[in-house]
Symmetry: C2
Amino acid sequence: MDFKEELKHYQKKINKELEKYLRTNNCLEGTLNESMEYSLMAGGKRLRPILVISTYSLFKNDLEECFPYAVAIEMVHNFSLIHDDLPGIDNDDFRHGKLTNHKKFNEATAILAGDGLLNNAYIVISNDLRKMSKINSKELEKKLKVFNEFTLAVDRMIAGEYVDTEYEGREISTEDLQYIHENKTGALLKLCVRMGAILGDANDEELEHLTSYAEKIGLAFQIKDDILSEEGDEKVLGKPVGNDKKLEKCTYVSKYGLEKSKEILENITKEAIEKLESFGDKADFLRGLALYIESRNK
Amino acid sequence: MDFKEELKHYQKKINKELEKYLRTNNCLEGTLNESMEYSLMAGGKRLRPILVISTYSLFKNDLEECFPYAVAIEMVHNFSLIHDDLPGIDNDDFRHGKLTNHKKFNEATAILAGDGLLNNAYIVISNDLRKMSKINSKELEKKLKVFNEFTLAVDRMIAGEYVDTEYEGREISTEDLQYIHENKTGALLKLCVRMGAILGDANDEELEHLTSYAEKIGLAFQIKDDILSEEGDEKVLGKPVGNDKKLEKCTYVSKYGLEKSKEILENITKEAIEKLESFGDKADFLRGLALYIESRNK
């Protein structure tokens, strides 16, 4: 399979897992469930769960083990999108070419659907841990480490989003811009790769290389996001372009300009790929993902 | 100690634990931390963590074991209050006689502080599970059960809140009113008692009695809330009275009238206390709590 086929293959796998979860989860009520499902199935790229699975598959073939964590991270990602889009934060009307959650339903539903998705991520993890508890204590210990890193990365993501909202319309220092990028987007992307590696029983050196790779693609992802917000195609992106400028948001583009940002993006992508050297051909998909993040148009 | 002294004693214990957590948790950023702390330390009754601890102490003396779960449940409770108060849901300006979170800070901060508190509850649980993982697999299995019940009860709470928002201004069936009460408030109160009992190694029969007790005081709590919203003292309550009527909210009072509601409250409190019979004197504090819920004026 070439990269694009493999990407589609992974996306299908994830969507199937998410649908399986939504079908068996009867916990939340009617329209609230519908609202959670609306955002969860709105056509995201599934980058985060794909990072979990493709990193895991560097080490092991039985993907089932990492599915719950892939599903949980996609729920957290969508929780953060729903809340970021709210009138009280970014006040966005469109995402992935569709109405945002509060526009499609209403504000109360969107707040609670976000809360529900965050909590459902922990339901998924908790169900997986309980299933494990009698089997193998070493495996369980590993999963408890993953659960712990999961909670802390979500905290970092919330902190990054908070600092981002605080800076709207104000001049930002390079240090604080880096803080926002590392936390708001970077923490979760790093978590995905680390979860895949830890669940795959990576050794310390492998975990270190993969963590560096993740940090670099996390930064690349955010720089590309900033570039697309400035010069992307509204129809392809599915959301308005130029909003960052209007809101005087702090971005790589507003800080360094468009050309310099593209240069940084290119260099950081190269560095990310270098970190995969020791994994040989097996890491081709992760190399492809780094290039995909650099070149994506949405 | 009489009931009131013991209640104060427990409240102090909880506040100390919460403060300890807030001091050692440097994860979330500046004002966001401040905003979480503002709501967490705004003078709540600490009923939920006290239920955990006092149920646990029916069985064991070493309270340390249940503290993380007492802290986590108070965080979840405060997350739900912050989000319920938001303009997009109840739009309340005051709680516990103080400005609500979004009034004190701003809407974006309040949304993220609520998210942060929910997530921090899981950080607390995750830290406790990791500490345990090498010690004793039977203890760990018990805590994984508690974690699982925790996630599901939070889901029920969010579902209850959602149905509540959906019914504003509409006639409600007795069945749906019961659904809201059982989930929005009841699920978390039941969880508190069950967590205390499970962590205390209660046997099946004890767990069953305590669960019934919890269900009854949960219902009593909500009926009393409805009564106070109708005829409470604004100064004592710290929030406006009569709001439920204005919003045409579905309450016991709007459904059954004030006198009939008080009669139901009295009966259900008696039934709750009956469920504690087999625990003898040790359960005096839980009996006191049931009476306190019935007679409280805030």
